[in-house]
């Protein structure tokens, strides 16, 4: 009995971990944009959905090899992200943040409608070379897709860390996120940085979408997990990339265990319950890097 329980817990921990990684990835998309431009992109979840659909189109319809389709989808999403920044967000510089928020909500609607229009609303599954295979280890069954999600997240995070620590562009982005005016004075093109930030953020969301595609099917509504990811970003401390991942993991794992121990319906609200509790205890999240502005 005790052993079975332990197995069950491990199993839940693993699926929570992989789900949490996806939340964390989308959350880091939020955080990147927020840090660079102080704008909140509510369409992040819908960008993820769109990225997953693009990958589906490239791989299952155009019959690209898996890796090529993956790269193509991620690059295409990066392009879309940059376009959004150029044509929807840049005209809004200097306007109230709330207006930008509303615009991104509107963009989310547009993406959802567009996806429904192009691909229809029935769920699609992305063909991957690793779906359906499992590892069996001491009675614990781990799907390959879960491992791929965790590994993919790790790889992406280390790539981001490397990018921000060592490359000139990464350093310029950090400078711009700390103080746009000062960054402009030392010769950094803040406009270009903003475009690149949106491109990277959209690319990360697309990656998250592709990673989660084998676990949950793709349909235009999956973008709504963006709301949970947003909760993750706040739990982790808005404005901190490692915080976003930690917040995602907390919510992902919390959700799985709430599904086991609490009556039905509770696993749906766990993310938000964690969020509200967090706001009560520590309003600025676990890893705080947001400076409070005096108005």
């Amino acid at each position: 009995m005790a052993l079975e329980e332990k197995l069950e817990h491990t199993q839940l921990l693993i699926s929570g971990l992989s789900q949490g990684c996806v939340y964390g990835l989308i959350a880091s998309g939020f955080v990147l944009i927020y840090k660079a431009t102080e704008m909140v992109n509510f369409a992040q979840g819908d960008l993820m959905m769109f990225g997953a659909f693009l990958a589906y189109t490239f791989i299952s319809i155009f019959n690209f090899p898996f890796a090529l389709g993956l790269v193509a989808a991620i690059l295409a999403m990066a392009g879309i992200g940059a376009l959004i920044e150029r044509f929807a967000i840049r005209p809004m510089i200097g306007e109230p943040h709330f207006s930008v928020l509303m615009i991104t909500i509107g963009l989310g609607f547009i993406f959802r409608a567009l996806a429904g229009f192009i691909w229809g609303s029935e769920p699609r599954s992305l063909k991957t070379p690793y779906a359906g295979k499992v590892f069996e280890f001491d009675g614990i069954i781990i799907g390959h897709e879960n491992i791929i999600i965790v590994l993919g997240t790790l790889a992406l995070c280390s790539a981001l860390a490397f990018f921000f620590k060592t490359t000139n562009l990464g350093k310029a982005m950090q400078a711009a996120s700390q103080n746009q005016l000062a960054a402009m004075y030392v010769g950094i093109s803040v406009k270009k940085i903003n475009s690149i930030t949106w491109a990277i953020s959209a690319a990360i969301s697309a990656t998250a979408g592709i990673l989660i595609a084998p676990v949950s099917l793709i349909d235009p509504q999956i973008g709504f997990i963006g709301v949970k990811a947003f909760a993750a970003a706040i739990v982790g401390g808005f404005g901190s990339l490692p915080g976003a991942i930690i917040g995602g993991l907390i919510i992902g794992i919390g959700e799985q265990f709430a599904g086991l121990y609490l009556p039905p319906g509770f696993s749906e609200v766990t993310a938000y319950a964690i969020l509200l509790t967090m706001l009560l205890i520590r309003p600025h999240g676990i890893l705080t890097s947001v400076q409070i502005k005096k108005m």
Binding site: A88, H97, F98, M102, I103, F109, L279
Partner: protein, 318 residues
């Protein structure tokens, strides 16, 4: 543009600033009174719906436009009001009492929401309220003994004493009466010390505090009042839709409420934002009435987005 010669400080807080306003608002009221004799039942129903959303809009306006607290979760209060009213009615409590209890109940929940919400501002607040509304939606779906869960809940017909208010005309007048009194109450709150404290908090928390305004108290009151109005709208909406299901109070409704307020102009109170609701439903036909072409708005996300591009000042600062 009319310039008013002010000879008295009380002129600043009068509801009607000059005789012209008094005249036109009286005309508007007369026109609204004449509608049941001119329009078919369908349009009366639509108008009643607009009135109901306008009441919810007043609630959100007080919170978002005047206190500066953005809520992405007001559909929850709509839901709480609707379910509470339907539940109390089904217990046999008369219409008026049931509606009042639902309003009080909704206010109470609003006060409770203020406890976590007070600690955060701006976008955090928007998300905290969003989280709240999703939790409420789940409670509505799973508290089967009260709400009927996913099966939904039938709303008893409205009646006062033995007089049934089921007909479109009667319901139209009920909604009109509630809307007018809500507007009066809302305007009176705004010119009271509490209302002016709310505006001060919106403009600058620090200077409001240094003038001796208790931030926590003011914000909590704003939440309570706002939730109360929205709960009232919810109670009326329950009769309008007749059948409650948990998913009729989702995030999209919250966003729509917020857009209604934002598009109408968060700082314009009175009937003028009722106008935005009217646009909402009859946008193309009424567009020519207004001087500003950008106010032609219809429930289309693309156009909403456009609208904010054109007129960013209409949304509240965060």
């Amino acid at each position: 543009m009319r310039f008013i010669r002010k000879t008295n400080y009380y002129q600043d807080i009068q509801i009607f600033k000059h005789e012209g306003q008094t005249f036109w608002y009286t005309c508007l009221l007369l026109i609204l009174f004449s509608f049941p004799f001119l329009l078919s039942d369908f349009y009366l129903g639509e108008l009643a719906l607009i009135f109901i959303y306008a009441i919810a809009g007043i609630g959100l306006m007080l919170l978002t436009g005047y206190t500066g607290l953005v809520s992405l979760g007001h559909a929850a209060f709509l839901g709480i009001g609707a379910y509470a009213h339907a539940y109390f009615l089904s217990l046999g409590i008369p219409f008026v009492f049931s509606l009042s209890i639902s309003v009080l109940f909704s206010s109470l929940i609003g006060t409770l929401l203020a406890i976590p919400a007070l600690r955060v501002t701006g976008i955090y607040l928007a998300v905290a309220t969003l989280a709240f509304s999703i939790i409420v939606e789940q409670i509505l779906s799973h508290w089967v003994s009260v709400t009927g869960g996913y099966r939904g809940m039938l709303v008893p017909d409205p009646s006062i004493g033995n007089v049934s208010l089921k007909s479109h005309t009667a319901f139209y007048f009920i909604c009109l009466a509630f809307l007018s009194s809500s507007l009066l109450i809302g305007l009176n709150i705004l010119r009271s010390p509490v209302g002016r404290a709310m505006t001060a908090v919106r403009d600058s928390e620090i200077s409001a505090q240094s003038m001796g305004i208790n931030l926590a108290r003011t914000k909590t009151i704003a939440f309570a009042i706002s939730a109360g109005f929205t709960g009232l709208a919810g109670g009326l909406l329950a009769h309008k839709i007749g059948y409650l299901a948990p998913d009729s109070f989702n995030l999209l409704i919250s966003i729509q409420l917020l857009l209604m307020v934002v598009v109408g102009g968060t700082r314009v109170f009175t009937w003028s934002y009722l106008r935005s609701n009217i646009h909402w439903f009859f946008a193309p036909s009424l567009g020519f009435v207004k001087r500003q072409p950008s106010r032609k708005i219809c429930p289309n996300p693309r156009i909403r987005t456009r609208y904010i591009w054109i007129n960013p000042g209409s949304s509240p600062d965060l």
